[in-house]
Subunit: 235 residues, 2 copies
DNA sequence: TAGATTGTTAATCGATTAACAATC
DNA sequence: TAGATTGTTAATCGATTAACAATC
């Protein structure tokens, strides 16, 4: 185990992926796995996997590999999943409701404490067992409860303002679903942005690029043979 | 402009962020910006920004910087936003509905063509102007329409199976919202996974780590001075 | 014991940053 | 013209991969 070496964000972001895979393996009754097999099934090199783990401890055994259940438990510990965290949700629109109704907070060790909105038509409604509160009560609420994180699901145009208010009220971590970049400035507040748009635009780029490459390839073929290549007829 | 150099995924994933910022700048009436200013406001170095752009062309002007509107237009072109793409959505649950009702597909140059579900209670319903179709008609539908991408919003346990079916039916790009990893195998199919869980677990890790660091810091302080440090009273 | 596979150190590769000539 | 800032090349830094001794 390496000490005093900064662990890269890349490594941290691979941990949930490992955990997901290990959980599936365990469900399938697999008891042991080597870094070679794990890497193979996830598209990582065995070296990378062993490097990643080595930052946190010695979880494997020479000649054997890793015990799936134990390794899973270790990663859960690294991610802090042995501790429960609490959260509040701001903005009970579609995405907010989708999270409240569908997202498995328990799986992530998070307890959703409260949800807020400013729409009188929503305030007082119950969504998945949680009564929607008036956002005007936010400051009063935070005087008593100290949630570990705030989930931001409000419309983009009010996101920055509300984030600032939340930080001023003592919130120290924000999970941001709005299409607006939230930054912590020079504070210790942690922000995780989940930009749907960025994700889709990235995918679009690669689609457009693949299509271009195909056209180029076809043109090249056409120039050299004088006929178009046959395409498999899938549709 | 560099030619024949593979452009890294890191660079591609920064482009939407740049675009977002430029769009905001334009709204604010800003006409020109230097790589220095742009980097400053986004947390990137000027070098990185110039490097990123240099893969695609010469968008700036010495002594001036970048024309906000032109640069925005150039990035939109790089991302292929000048072409329209079409999509279908699978699974009209909460997250599916949230996307249909709230997500700005137009902004991303995507037209949502159709939505499918298997629930008879949902089939035939209209969501944001789109009639929910029976998933049983999927194959027939894809015989005529050839959407550029499929948006996967079905429950985790059927995600892999449906993804396989979509690929068999000729779908070549998948935007995956399920908590299950979708892989393209060795096909040319492009998959963009948007794992809410991974994002939250990453945030959780950093929260837990910060809390730990604070405890350590406080203990160190306690050992050296014999008294606890004063904490700002925010709540 | 022999084979397998770890954890770690060293080598390589790639991405970021720095520097600077070109030029608006 | 002088100052500013690009685009690009070179230097640095960090992350990934390879190699291998340790050991189960």
């Amino acid at each position: 185990m390496k000490k005093n070496v900064k662990i890269s964000d890349n490594t941290i972001r691979r941990l949930p992926k490992y955990l997901r895979k290990l959980s599936n393996l365990q469900s399938d009754g697999v008891q042991r796995i080597s870094s070679f097999e794990l890497g193979n099934s996830l598209g990582n090199t065995p070296s990378q996997i062993r490097q990643d783990f080595s930052h946190f401890g010695n979880f494997g055994q020479q000649g054997y590999g890793y015990h799936v259940e134990n390794l899973q438990e270790s990663i859960r510990e690294i991610l802090g999943l042995d501790q429960q965290m609490s959260a509040i949700l701001l903005g009970v629109g579609n995405i907010g409701q989708a999270l409240m109704k569908n997202f498995d907070f328990t799986l992530c060790g998070v307890q959703l404490q409260a949800a807020f909105d400013i729409d009188p038509g929503k305030i007082g409604n119950t969504v998945n067992g949680l009564v929607v509160r008036d956002q005007a009560e936010l400051a009063a609420y935070l005087k008593n409860a100290k949630p570990d994180l705030a989930i931001l699901c409000v419309p983009s145009d009010v996101a920055v303002e509300l984030a600032g208010k939340l930080i001023a009220l003592g919130i120290e971590a924000i999970w941001n679903f709005t299409n607006t970049e939230i930054t912590a400035g020079d504070s210790e507040v942690l922000v995780e942005n989940l930009h749907f748009t960025d994700s889709l635009l990235t995918l679009r780029y690669y689609i457009a690029k693949r299509n271009e490459d195909r056209v180029k390839k076809e043109e090249k073929y056409l120039r050299s043979t004088g006929s178009r290549p046959k395409r498999p007829q899938l549709f």
